[in-house]
């Protein structure tokens, strides 16, 4: 206390965060092994690694969710104990989770003060919060409508609210866990602009991701994690995506998909004038016409929320619609008794849904039970009146081996697998049904690089067997790498279809914003 000036000088020179020898084990699994890291103030530090590499565990320790078995944490040069998230917030750490922690039917403002209300009455703290919120919005260019309900605003906006929540709590250090997993390219670009602004205002940012492009474009330094260990920390300007990828997986990976030219056959899926009105009366699909042929991949690109999800749902049988959908020449029932997932499967349609945790899997079911999910009425899984659990288990063991699911334990609950392995369980189930038409939504969302390569190979292999594939993804790179033709959706309509070889990100990006060559002004989204 004698020399505050000296202390201040020290604090600015010290790293914003320093971890020394952090170790954490869950039972026999060593999630973090002797990890040390220094993040200087006013920089963006990337942490990259495959799913299960231990990134989230490390950040959970920093945010007080887990207690490290060993190791020390220094915040601005001071040794700090972080037993819970309250302590983390007090130390100036803010966290933006992959899955947002927002109350859907609260307004933006109410969400921001949630847990930080002062006083017994709500009104004064709301008024106070409104003022600081507007100031924050000005300072960092984070414009939001404080009175909008969370459920009414887009995902990108919701993430902004999460960031504002952290800033409102005076966070100097911001941790973002896979922030772009749910964002469109445009939203992601906006996020990175915001992060740049925050950095220039002196905030320290830790960006956890497994996307190399984001690391290369935004970070100052990057640490690579593999199997719980920190394998390298380098200056971003002194490394390359290839080097990082190799450090992550320990072997070279293909960022492009190896595939031959498609040989499309007859039309498998024929959609004409498809319309969907959701339960709030909003028209989500406004007359879609699309065709997918045997032996080709049709990629549906578009900013999330422009009708792609509804398209998959109505084709998958759990959303009603009007218009005409033919599969193999047979008309699908879009509203009546046969408009459900079971009859869709009978038509030879397999579906890898966009959200594997909410739809594709029962998270509390064992892997083997999930292997039968949707196909539980298959005669092969039946013996007399009962289900043939032994047959399902045997089938699961084989599928897990073929799709390299780790750990290959059919009795593990789905929730205990990493994201990539959960996706492999769904893929194995759907692809091995040998469908005529595969619907696949966000095949590699939240999936690590090693698994992405594998999943892409499986999709191309299915195409080469002469199957029709409808791919929906918000990752433009993925669409371009996988598709033979690309359809772009905007505001419930198809803006146009292009041959993947004859288009580029720029053209598709314009179409995704609702701009065709004919018009040059963007339409309101």
């Amino acid at each position: 206390m004698t020399d505050t000036h000296e202390m201040e000088r020290q604090a600015t020179a010290a790293p914003a965060i320093e971890l020394k020898g952090i170790s954490k084990a869950f039972g026999p699994v060593q999630a973090n092994k002797d990890i040390s890291i220094r993040v200087m103030p006013g920089t963006i530090h990337g942490i990259i690694g495959e799913n299960g590499a231990g990134k989230s565990t490390l950040m959970s320790i920093l945010y007080g969710f887990y207690k490290a078995d060993k190791g020390e944490i220094f915040i601005s040069g001071r040794k700090t104990e972080i037993p819970d998230s309250q302590a983390a917030i007090a130390a100036g750490i803010g966290m933006v989770f992959q899955h947002f922690k927002l109350v859907e039917n609260f307004t933006v403002l109410e969400n921001i003060i949630l847990g930080a209300e002062d006083g017994r009455l709500l009104k004064p703290s709301l008024a106070k919060a409104r003022k600081s919120l507007l100031k924050l919005a000005d300072d960092y260019g984070l414009r939001v409508d404080p009175d909008a309900l969370i459920q009414d605003i887009g995902v990108g906006m919701q993430q902004r609210v999460e960031i504002l929540k952290a800033l409102y709590r005076q966070a100097d250090i911001l941790i973002l866990d896979e922030p772009t997993g749910v964002l469109t390219p445009a939203e992601a670009d906006q996020l990175f602009r915001i992060l740049g602004r925050l950095k220039s205002e002196g905030k320290t940012i830790i960006l956890i991701t497994h996307k190399l492009r984001e690391i290369m474009e935004t970070t100052d330094t990057v640490s690579v994690m593999r199997r719980g260990e920190m394998t390298a920390t380098v200056k971003t300007s002194e490394t390359s995506p290839a080097e990082l990828a190799e450090l992550m997986v320990g072997r070279k990976v293909l960022l492009r998909v190896d595939k031959d030219v498609a040989t499309p056959g007859e039309v498998i899926l024929d959609i004409k004038g498809l319309r969907v009105v959701d339960d709030k009366g909003v028209e989500r699909l406004r007359g879609i016409d699309l065709q997918v042929r045997a032996g080709e991949i049709l990629g549906v690109a578009g900013v999330a929320g422009n009708g792609q999800s509804e398209l998959l749902e109505v084709l998958g049988g759990y959303q009603t619609g009007t218009g005409s959908v033919r599969v193999n020449g047979q008309e699908l029932d879009l509203t009546g008794k046969h408009s459900d997932g079971q009859s869709r499967r009978k038509h030879g349609i397999a579906h890898v849904p966009e959200d594997r945790q909410r739809e594709g899997l029962i998270m509390d079911y064992h892997a083997w039970e999930n292997t039968a999910f949707g196909y539980h009425k298959d005669p092969a899984y039946r013996s007399g009146m009962l289900m043939n659990n032994a047959a399902i288990k045997a089938d699961t063991v084989e599928k897990m081996e073929r799709f390299d699911v780790r750990p290959p334990n059919p009795k593990l609950a789905a929730k205990n697998f990493s994201g990539g392995n959960q996706q492999k369980i769904v893929l194995a189930r759907e692809i091995e049904r040998n469908p005529d038409l595969l619907l696949i939504g966000q095949p590699t969302r939240g999936v690590d690089i090693g698994a992405i390569e594998f999943i892409h190979q499986q999709i191309v292999a299915l195409r080469d067997q002469g199957k029709a594939i409808l791919l929906v993804s918000v990752e433009l790179e993925e669409i371009l790498a996988l598709s033979d033709r690309v359809a772009v959706m905007f505001d419930g309509q198809v803006m146009g279809t292009r041959d993947a070889s004859a288009t580029d990100e720029k053209e598709l990006g314009l179409m995704m914003a609702g701009i065709t060559e004919a018009q040059s002004t963007p339409m309101e989204a």
Binding site: G27, S60, Q98, D340, R345, E359, I362, G374, L386, L412
Partner: protein
């Protein structure tokens, strides 16, 4: 992988809960100046010390098995059926109609017919709230509670105005014919040389209840329907994706649930009272909730929990009869057991999980139990 081994989950947690409830009950008994040790002795000898005691314990347990299974199957579809009481009352009406108006040649046929009628009446009574939930979104907890009151009122009306024999002052049906009299445990065990009390009401319905436990186990864990019910209970959005109809599952799970509650009537109405009286269910429908909670909605758990509650009922009655411990206190003791085993389950579970975690980290390499990246 679970934090605790399975045996701790299914045996240790309920046992400790039970022990805590017993300790608290002992303190209450001490507080009113009675001797808890003597009380426990009396309860045990009263409920389990004689074939007479066993006969009552098993009689109550039979009721609780049916109502416990009723709640359990609905739980698997994440439906909270609190209407077991009303469904059991209607089941009683079904039994009474079957026994009074059909001339059965033999008790075995009467049992089959009465069981079917009881199940149909109970199922129909549960189907209405189920339909309202599935189609109109009326919350099933609210509607099933209200349907308990409606059932009581309906039964009151029918007994007083329609089924009461002429000249009788009692709001009850006439006595069922002799041909519908079910064999008691005394009748069943006498041929193999066991002299079971003749006065105890336990009867062949116990076997039906045990059969129902086995049937339900098969249904939940081994059939496609059970698979769909559990899937729907875990995740409605995923069920829709797989083509499992929420409407269908809600209706089926609730009708099975109501049928099981209704079937209780073959025990209390046909087996014991041999006529339908007002309030024949005596709250067994509500005890079923505690039984299902304690039994973790597993048929074997329900079976064991039902016997425990049968013991508490019979032991409690003995206590009220032979000591100055008032009847109300017996209810308090039963309530404590329900509170600890059902509602306060986590109070025991959490510390126990911690103990197992520390134990495991002490003897290091053991099977894995947590994902490496739980935040995913």
């Amino acid at each position: 992988m679970d934090v605790m081994p399975k045996w701790a989950e299914v045996v240790l947690v309920p046992l400790i809960s039970l022990l805590l409830a017993a300790i608290l009950s002992a303190l209450v008994i001490l507080g009113i100046g009675e001797d808890p040790v003597a009380a426990v002795k009396l309860m045990i000898s009263g409920a389990l010390g004689s074939t007479y005691g066993w006969g009552y314990t098993l009689y109550y347990a039979t009721n609780f098995m049916f109502t416990g299974l009723c709640v359990a199957i609905a739980f698997h579809a994440r439906l909270f059926n609190i209407g077991g009481e009303g469904q059991a009352m209607l089941g009683g009406l079904g039994v009474a109609l079957a026994c009074l108006y059909i001339p059965w040649p033999h008790w075995s046929l009467a049992l089959v017919g009465a069981t079917a009628m009881a199940a149909i009446f109970g199922a129909a009574w549960a189907a209405i709230p189920a339909f309202l939930q599935a189609k109109r979104g009326s919350h099933i907890v609210i509607t099933t509670i209200m349907f308990n009151f409606i059932a009581a009122a309906v039964l009151n009306y029918i007994l007083v105005n329609m089924m009461r024999p002429q000249g009788s002052m009692d709001p009850a049906t006439a006595r069922f014919p002799d041909a519908t009299k079910l064999p008691t445990l005394h009748d069943m065990l006498a041929p193999i040389g066991i002299n079971f009390s003749q006065a105890a009401p336990a009867n062949i319905s116990l076997l039906v209840a045990i059969a129902a436990c086995i049937f339900l186990w098969l249904l939940i864990w081994r059939t496609r329907l059970g698979y769909e019910i559990r899937a729907y209970g875990h995740s409605e959005s995923a069920a829709k994706y797989a083509g499992i109809s929420p409407f269908k599952i809600t209706m089926i799970a609730m009708t099975i649930s109501g049928a099981l509650a209704g079937m209780m009537a073959i025990n209390n109405v046909m087996g014991e009272a041999e006529r339908l009286v007002l309030n024949a269910t005596e709250g067994a429908g509500f005890i079923g909730i505690a039984v299902a909670l304690m039994g973790r909605s597993h048929p074997l758990g329900v079976f064991l929990a039902a016997i425990l509650f049968g013991f508490l009922y019979q032991g409690g009655a003995e206590l009220a009869l032979w000591t100055s411990i008032p009847r109300e206190l017996i209810v308090v003791i039963q309530a404590l057991v329900i509170l600890f085993t059902g509602a306060l389950d986590n109070m025991v579970r959490m510390p126990l999980e911690k103990i197992f975690l520390t134990l495991r980290s002490l003897r290091a390499p053991k099977p894995e139990r947590k994902p490496v990246e739980p935040a995913e």
